[in-house]
Every structure is written in C-alpha cells, then in structure tokens.
Symmetry: C2
Subunit: 629 residues, 2 copies
C-alpha cells in the first residue's frame, strides 16, 4: 500500500483523499450524471467501486431497496475472484470472516443399505492450486458491503442512492446526456412519484428480471424450463459428520448440495425440487419451507437434522438464459452508433447456483465495463472501446452456461441414471479450473493481442487473467506477490521481465526503458496526460534475473523508479528480482531472453512481446487510447 508520498497521512490510508466529483458530491440524486448504475448487486457495486477511482466522472448508483442487502442470495466466491477483492483491498478481511472450502465430499446410497447414504469420495477443492487465494463462502451481502466501503473511501466518494426504482429509458442520440431515464421513488415521502434523470451512460445491473434489459429490447434465449432448488440457510443440530464440509449428496430421496457457511455454524442446503415446466408461473416458488425441510431430512437418512433456525430460505428457480446482446446497439446499428446502455450480471445471463458462478461472473462483468467507461469519460479512450464490453463478456457467459448445464444435469441426475457415466466427483475434479475462474479467455481484439509471442511467457496466456507469483522487491528485500501490486486503480501494467543482463548494464532492457521514457512513440509519452505523474496511466515494473542482494536500486533505469506525487519522491516499488524460493521465470515459464507483459486494468493479459519489439508496443494501444494533446 503506497501513501504518504504527498505528505503524511495520519488516519486510515485506505481512505483516499476526495477528488473531483467526490469533493462536493451532491447528497441527493441529481438530474444529470455521467454514469447511472441501476442495481447495487455484485455487478453494479463493483462498477461503482471501480468508477470511484475516476473522480472526474460523476457516477450514481441506485437501487429500489430501502437500504443494503441483509441476507440471502449467492455465497460462493471462487478463488480467482478473491484476486479481484485483493485489487479492491479487502481480500484479507473477507477471507478472515468467510468459510474456506478445502475439500468436497460426495455421498451416495450405501449399496448394502440403499435407504442410507454413505461417503463415497473425498476430493481436495483446488488440487492444482489455481490461485494463491482460497475458495470462499460468504454471504453476498458482505461482498457488497466491502465494495460499497471501497467506493465510499475512494476519491469519488460514491455511495448508493437507495429507494429509486428504474422504470424505463430512451436513448436520444446527439445530446450531451443522451440517456433519458424514468425513475420511481419507492419509500419515503416521495413514494410513488416519477422522476426523469439524464445520463451519458447507463449500466443495467438490475438482476434477472432486468427492466434495463427490457428497455433496450435485448432478448433472452435458452432453456424453456427452469430448475428449482429449495435453498435454506440453516442453523441446526445434526449428526451428519460432514456438515462443515462442502458435499454433494445423492440419495434415493433426491439430492442436496450442502455448503458450509461463514461463522462456524450456519450451512446452506440446496434441496433439489426438479425441473419446472414452462407453464408453472412461479407456483414452485410457493413450496412451503416445511416441505423442503422434510425432503432434506429424507435425503440425509440415516442422519438426523434438527432445525433450530432458518436464517433465510427461498425457492431459487433458474434456467440457463443468455441475452442476445449486452448493450443497446442492435445488430443493424453496429457501424452507426456506439453503445450508451449496458447490461451486466444476472440481467444478461442466468445459470444455476450449482457451479457457484452467479456472483463471480457478474462481478467480472462490472469490472470489465467500469474501467472502460472511466477511460472514455476521462478522454483517455475513444468511445469505440465500449463495444468490446458486449463482445468479450457475451462469449464468457456462453461458455459458462455450457459448463453449468453439464454440472447441473449431473447434480440433478438420480444415482441410477449416472451408472456407468462420469459421476459428480470425477466431473468436479476434471473441470475444477473452470469454476475457479481460470478458463476465461478473451479472443484477440483491439484490447487483446494475437498469441504470436506467447511462447515467451507460456504461464501468462494472452486473454486470460494475470496469475500472480512471488518476486523479491529489491528496495526492501521483501518477497511480494507481483500481482498484488495491481490494485483496481484503473492503470495498465507493463511488466518488463529482464533478459540475463544485470541491472544498469546496457542491453535490451536499458534500451527499452530509455525508449519508454524518452521516445515520442512510446505509449508512456504519447498517452499519459500532461502534468500527470509518469506512472499515472502505465505502471511499468521490471523483474531482473539476478540476486537482489547484489543490486543497487539506483542503477535501474528511471522509468522503473519515477519521481511522483506532489513532493516528487521516488517510487521504490517497481524494481524486483526473481526470488530463489519461487522463481517467477520458472513458475510462469518466462523466457530467459526476457519478455514484456501488458496487463489491462481489469487484470487480463493483453500482450506478450519480446524485449525489443518496440514497434509492436508503439502501435498496440492505437485503437484503445487517445494520444494526449
């Protein structure tokens, strides 16, 4: 965490100084704003949190709720999602209050006594170690709380405007604030009153029954039928021995997915209620709690379940549905206009809870979109950048739905139906990397290079999320996760992995560093706003191969130790060495000839280049960034 560089900070350094629109932010929802986010769920709140790092942009986030979510909904946090939490500064805190999934056990009918279940398998949750972070379970409300805190502590001081329901919008192209939005006050004195506000952009993060989606005419397609699960957050006495372990239970009486929860006592049961025919019209949602409990008891036989309290329950009925587009640009308009309205999260894709993806993927939608909005609205990027949101995230949603269909049908199958096929345990292990969030891979685009030089850094696949590894910070001899320096501050990262030349020696690194600092073609010079710190758009770091103890940090080229902030102090946190105990060159298969890795603000690898590919580097940002004037 870097602070004090503009002078001493006495209080919590996580509370950044207010700036721009954060200084005099209107308490009440104004009539005009740059971005209106509809919905404070995971998709909406992460967008607000990211936009709070762009204080020049006036962002508002509304919800029809009277106040914060208190209970219920999703709870599964994939390990790679915790990497995102790290970027927003709360990974440790949420981990310390969450349940950590270490193993999953599988229960099936005892062949000798088919009315009773028995444990048939036990598998580690993350056998391949997809992340340095654990797989968590914690209520969605707490995830939202942490993002909300971050949004409020960031320069733009964003905090939700509760009690506003989105009704509809129209886009009136050509105006400065082209999106005209009709809202309804809910609660308070004004309850029931309609109000019109205008925004430059609207983010629809209003969940599965999204009105924003309806307003832009996007169509859902997918399964005809939904699958229904009775969900209960349970406090109970039981002699079932795995009540604190995640388990998939199949018995003759049905199936249960058991998820232990934070706090040491609570657990969630997903009790299968089967396929819901199309014409059901929500009748399944009236399934009484008592019936769900009875069914759970039958499935758990011979174990007892003495329910003391159900903190929350719901019939969670969900199909596999995907919106045909994630923005307001109809297929026949693609060359005519740029998007003004976006849908994110459940508003554009729904899938079962089984793979524990809903909240995770929704957050990545919001993260993907928000920095792009920030770049466009601060003039860093052309409007066309916003097209990439729908392209990138729709493909991801489609992959997810395919995966989830397989997983759901295995979970819903009877033990007999699975006979001879791949069972739940095998499928779970084989596909573990997918739900953990490691498989997302963006296709080549303006943002993502083709894989031409991928072999220089096989462990940083282009289009996938950057995967951290430990390095030695030279200035203070402190082993650090390189990726943890990538905070959600909206900056690009350029990692220069050195060749064998030592720090300060002439060679490719020195030439590249000099070019980055001096050349008129260098992206750093072309795109960094005038008067801004040298590292305000590109955070350029170097990782040498030699032993840190033999290095003098002052020998590193200046691009790697810029003078920043009001006092012009030198940044000591950009020069690293490969660390003996965990050599990043080996762990991420980086060529000993060196490589340049470019990582976008939302932590996806954009490009891998040889150290001397200066021309490629010069051109790479041409369609993404606007040169400074």
């Amino acid at each position: 965490m870097q602070f004090h560089h503009n002078g001493y900070v006495s209080a919590d350094p996580r509370k950044q100084p207010a700036a721009g629109t954060g200084i005099d932010r209107p308490k009440q929802l104004p009539d005009q704003m740059d971005v209106l986010v509809v919905g404070t769920g995971p998709a909406g709140i992460i967008a607000a949190a990211q936009l709070s790092q762009f204080p020049q942009v006036h962002t508002r986030i509304i919800d029809r709720r009277p106040s914060r979510l208190e209970i219920g909904q999703a709870d599964g946090i994939q390990s790679r999602t915790v990497e995102t939490f790290q970027a927003f500064g709360f990974a440790e805190r949420i981990t310390s209050e969450a349940y950590i999934i270490k193993e999953t056990t599988f229960w099936n009918p005892d062949p000798e006594n088919p009315e009773c279940i028995m444990r048939t398998d036990r598998t580690p949750d993350d056998p391949t170690g997809v992340s340095e972070f654990p797989h968590l379970v914690v209520n969605q409300a707490r995830v939202i709380d942490y993002f909300a805190e971050y949004a409020y502590n960031s320069p733009a001081r964003i905090t939700p405007d509760f009690g506003w329901e989105f009704k509809e919008l129209v886009v009136e192209d050509g105006q400065e604030y082209p999106v005209k939005v009709t809202l309804l006050a809910c609660g308070g004195e004004a309850a029931g009153l309609e109000r019109v506000v205008r925004a430059k952009y609207v983010v629809g993060a209003d969940g599965a029954r999204s009105n924003v989606r309806r307003s832009i005419g996007a169509k859902l397609s997918g399964d005809k039928a939904n699958h229904a699960w009775g969900v209960m957050d349970t406090l109970a006495l039981t002699d079932f021995p795995d009540v604190r372990t995640k388990c998939a239970i199949h018995s003759g009486a049905g199936s249960i997915l058991l998820i232990p929860r934070e706090g040491g006592q609570l657990f969630r049961l997903y009790v299968d209620l089967g396929e819901v025919p199309e014409g059901d019209n929500g009748k399944v949602r009236e399934t009484p709690l008592e019936e769900i409990i009875q069914r759970a008891k039958a499935i758990l036989n011979p174990y007892t379940l003495d329910v003391k309290d159900i903190a929350w329950h719901s019939v969670y009925e969900v199909g596999h549905r995907l919106a045909d587009r994630f923005d307001d640009v109809a297929p026949d308009e693609t060359c005519i206009r740029e998007p003004r309205v976006f849908i994110t999260g459940d508003a554009c894709h729904t899938h079962s809870a089984k793979a524990g993806q809903g909240m995770n993927v929704s957050m990545q939608d919001g993260f993907n979109l928000a920095w792009k909005l920030g770049y466009v609205l601060t003039g860093r990027s052309p409007q066309s950048l916003l097209r990439t949101y729908s392209t990138e995230r729709k493909m991801i949603a489609r992959d997810l739905i395919d995966f989830d269909k397989q997983w759901s049908s295995i979970m819903a199958a009877t033990p007999e139906a699975l006979q001879g096929q791949e069972g739940a345990a095998e499928f779970y292990v084989r596909t573990a990397e997918f739900p953990a969030g490691f498989m997302t891979e963006y296709a080549p685009s303006v943002l993502t290079a083709v894989h031409e030089h991928q072999d220089l850094a096989a462990g940083f696949p282009i289009g996938k999320r950057f995967r951290s590894s430990e390095v030695m910070r030279v200035a203070d001899a402190s082993p650090r996760h390189l990726g943890h320096h990538h905070r959600a501050d909206g900056r690009y990262r350029i990692y220069v992995f050195a060749d064998r030349a030592r720090i300060g020696e002439p060679g490719k690194v020195a030439t590249l560093a000099n070019w980055l600092l001096e050349s008129n073609e260098s992206p750093v010079r072309r795109f960094t706003p005038q008067d801004a710190d040298l590292d305000s758009l590109f955070d350029v770091k170097v990782i040498y191969q030699q032993d840190y103890a033999s290095m003098n940090i002052n020998d590193a080229p200046k691009i790697f130790r810029p003078n920043v902030g009001e006092l012009g102090l030198m940044d000591y946190e950009k020069v690293y060495a490969a660390w003996e105990s965990s050599d990043i060159f080996e762990e991420r298969q980086i060529s000993r000839e060196g490589a340049i890795i470019i990582v976008r603000p939302d932590m996806y690898v954009s490009h891998v280049l040889p150290l001397d590919s200066i021309q490629d580097l010069a051109g790479f940002f041409d369609d993404v960034l606007v040169p400074r004037i």
Copy 2:
C-alpha cells in the same frame, strides 16, 4: 471467527452485540466507574480493549489530549506483538499497511576512505522465525486506532473520554469506590474546571511523566543521564541505496538508526545526539531541526539527502529507569491490603528506542493487567490475583532495561571504540529473540506452575508466551494456526494433546474429557458461572495424532464439542488433528504420550501436565479462581 450461533448476523461480525454496561453506556464521563484508565497510549488502550470484553465492568479511559494521537512517537512492532494484534482481530489489516522488516544492513566507515560509509553487513531480520507473523513498522497512532476500534466494537462499547487531565488520586480503603481521583477539564467550555470522580481501580497509563506514579509515591531509579536522539520522520530524495531497509549506520560524524516506514516513502532517522548530563534540564530538546538534518547529511556521506518534508520530529531523550513498584501497595503493606492503583507502560519503565520495545512492552503490561481486573470485578477471581501484575511485569521490565543498555551502548559507540569487540551486527543476530518478544518468562506463582512436566511439551515453555503452530481442523479439513483461535476474549485455554489412542477410543483422553465434563472437582464445573456456556471460562480443545480424514467428529468427547449459544448449536472448532505438513507434536516437541497445556487469557503458558494428572489440574486454579456458588 465464530458468529451466527445465536442467530444470523447480517452486518460486520467484528461488531459484537453490545451487552451489560455497553448497552446504555453514558456518553459523558460519570462520577463513578469500576475502572478508570488514565492515558490512551498503547498501554492504556489495550487495557480498555481487553476490558471491553467484560461488559459487566464499567470502564472509562481518559486522556488530556483533545482527540486521537495523529503522528509521531514509537513505530516498531515486534513480530510477537503482532500475535497480540491477531488476538484483537487486526493483525492482517495492520500488516497490510505497515512496513515489514526483512533485513537489517550495517554501514561503517570505508577503511580505504574513512569519510565515506559503506555497507559492511546484511542480516536477515528474523533468522530463527520466532513467530509466524512479521516484524512491522507502523506509526503508534495506527496501533492505537485499531485497539480503539476493537474496544468500541466489543460488548462494552468503550470509547475514550478525551480532554480530561489526571491531577491526583487518593485511595480511601473500605469504600466501594475507594479511589478518589481529581481531574481537570482541558479544552471545551469547562476548561480549567476541576472534578472529582471515584473508581474501584485506576490504571495509570499516562506515560513517562506519569502523575499517577507520583500520586502513589512510586520512585524511579536508573541511570543518572539520558541519551538523546534527534528523531525525524522524513520524506526525502536520496541516493543512499538502503533507504527502504532498516540500517544501523556508524560513521566518523556520528551514528544513525534508519527505519523505513509504512507507505513506501517515509523513513525515520534516529540521529545520535549523545549523552545528556543530568543538569541539562531539557536544553537538548531545543536542538534545532536544521542541526539534526545537517548531522544526518554528514553521517550519510557520500550519499545525498534532499529533505522534502519532515512529517514529525522530536528530540527523544530517554534514560533507563524503572519504578520501584507497579502498584500502590508499599512494601510494608503487602500483607495488609490489595492494590487499587497500577502503573503500566512508560509510567513504570523507560528505555531507549533502539531495541524498539517501548510500545511493545507497554502493551503487554496493559494486557497482563486488564484481564485480571476483568476477572476480579466479575467475581471470577479473588482480589489477590491483582498482586501478580506488579510481580510479573517488574521482572520483565528489568530484563528489558538490561538488554537495552547493552544495545544502546553499542549503537552509541564510535567505530573505534567497537574495534575488537562484538559489533552491532553480531550483537543484533545473537540476541534477535529478545527484542522479538520471545524471551519473557514469568516465574512460578499462583498463575504459573513449576516446570515439573515441561519435558512433555518442551516447545511450550511454562511462563513464556504460547507459540502457535498449524493443525488440521477436523470438521472442515482446514489447516489452521492453533494459536489464532485464542482471541482476546478473556478465556483460559486448555489444550489436550492426545496420546496414541484414536478419537472415541477409551483411554486417557476419554477419561480426562469425561472428568472435565462431569466431575465436581473439574475446574470447568467448579468455576464456570452457572447458566453460562460450557466453554465460557475454559475453552477446551483436543489435538489428536491420527489422520483427520479417518475421524468422525461426532466421536469426540462432548467437552470438545459443547452445545453453546442461545440455540444450543454444537461448536465444531475444538477438534484438531496433527497435520502432515507441519506436525505440531514434532514442532513443539510434545510427547506422543500426550499432554495438557494450560494457557492464560493473555496468552502465556501456565502449566504443562500429563494427561492423567487430574489431581494437579483440579488444584491448579484454587488460588486464581473463585468457585461458582
């Protein structure tokens, strides 16, 4: 972190429900209170934080400051102190904002060019790994903030009463509130007005010039002379390469201790100003900042120091002084009365900043005292328990002062004077465990057993702080630090390390567990308050030797899985197994025949016993706890 056991907790689980005096806590300082803590420094605030877990006790903490400390004073946090932070729930948060000391370098005159310094040594900071936590540097103000937050989030909702200066006190034995305290309002409308309040106990945590100490007639003794250091929290440009590494610098022009600070830029320089003769009367404190800077520049030659900002500076003048007693019981009164007034921290011992101990030892004073006050005031313990505070902490302070004298004289010596002797680097390495906080060892007393059975657990020395190690939590297959379950909740811990018998098998563990639960001689039955949870006074845990995967937690004896809370839910976090990757039996040299380890609320090992020493266990608490009625 355990919560939800009394029903669902929707918000931050770190905010515990208010109870007792925390429910209607008077906003203004009342006329009467159970405990009055004077001073919100490290010693005082930790006492308030611990007492906040005893909501039946009405505790107030005053300070003459108008508000929180903002800057300056101490900044070194020993790794074992971070263990205490863990118990108060903020180890991760403070670590993530702190500077972490990994190495110390030593600089001395270059023999070939004696006007210039050169690096002569580099040593790892914690070569033996005294704790699982790192050695931190972070401003004292932040440490106080975190404890204050904990005190406020705990059941008693304690928060400081600022703007009250302690003037004097008298103890009027025989009254219900025997300590009559005179305060002076400072600031606000009432400024200058005197006021008398009464307390059952007073904790003097009012720093080196303590008025509480004066009031009880305790005498300081020690060196006649002080040593003075110019201290500057510096933001500067420099080409000195180790400015982000802790270094001890000796040059012909004097000596500097350089401590990098949190945030990536700030560093502290302690510039030696030499011995101050007794009659100086504070004149050294007038040394101008400019002079200190000039001296620093001369010492750092040939490196440059271009100061941009001095966030804080002071001439820190301190000798080695120790109060003759730490409470108000004069030597001739020891058998007549029990203590009512205590002094803690700098009020009873001062030493140099060189060994980085001031804040650390002061906190341990406050922790030691506060739980004892909590026990006495809630009727758990006899008043005589309070005698142990002075006995225990005075010995520790004396050891520290001895150590610090050696370290200070080495730091203050000229390079020539050190010729042929043990140098700073060697001394530093040889004695590393001392400053890290590992050497404190309480002598046998009512609280601390003799070492009769120490060989059963050589790695848990009786009288020293419990040192954590990883174990496998059976219920959720989650590797956990056993010691991290010891929160500052005022409870005793009893760890039962099993012999070779497996879970559920008859044998010594089963017999002991049954006796603890059922026998009228069991401390659990004798001392746990009626109507309270089974584990409200003693938190009893078991660690088996067998593989966790082969265990059914429901086979563990009931004392290890009590039903607790309003809903009577079972506690799943008391049954552990030795973990393959880090076998606690080996790491802490625990006998394969098993052992019982008793740890007191402030985390010191009280006793080590064989599994079948039931009679010893029955008697051990006789002088410490009061049987329930």
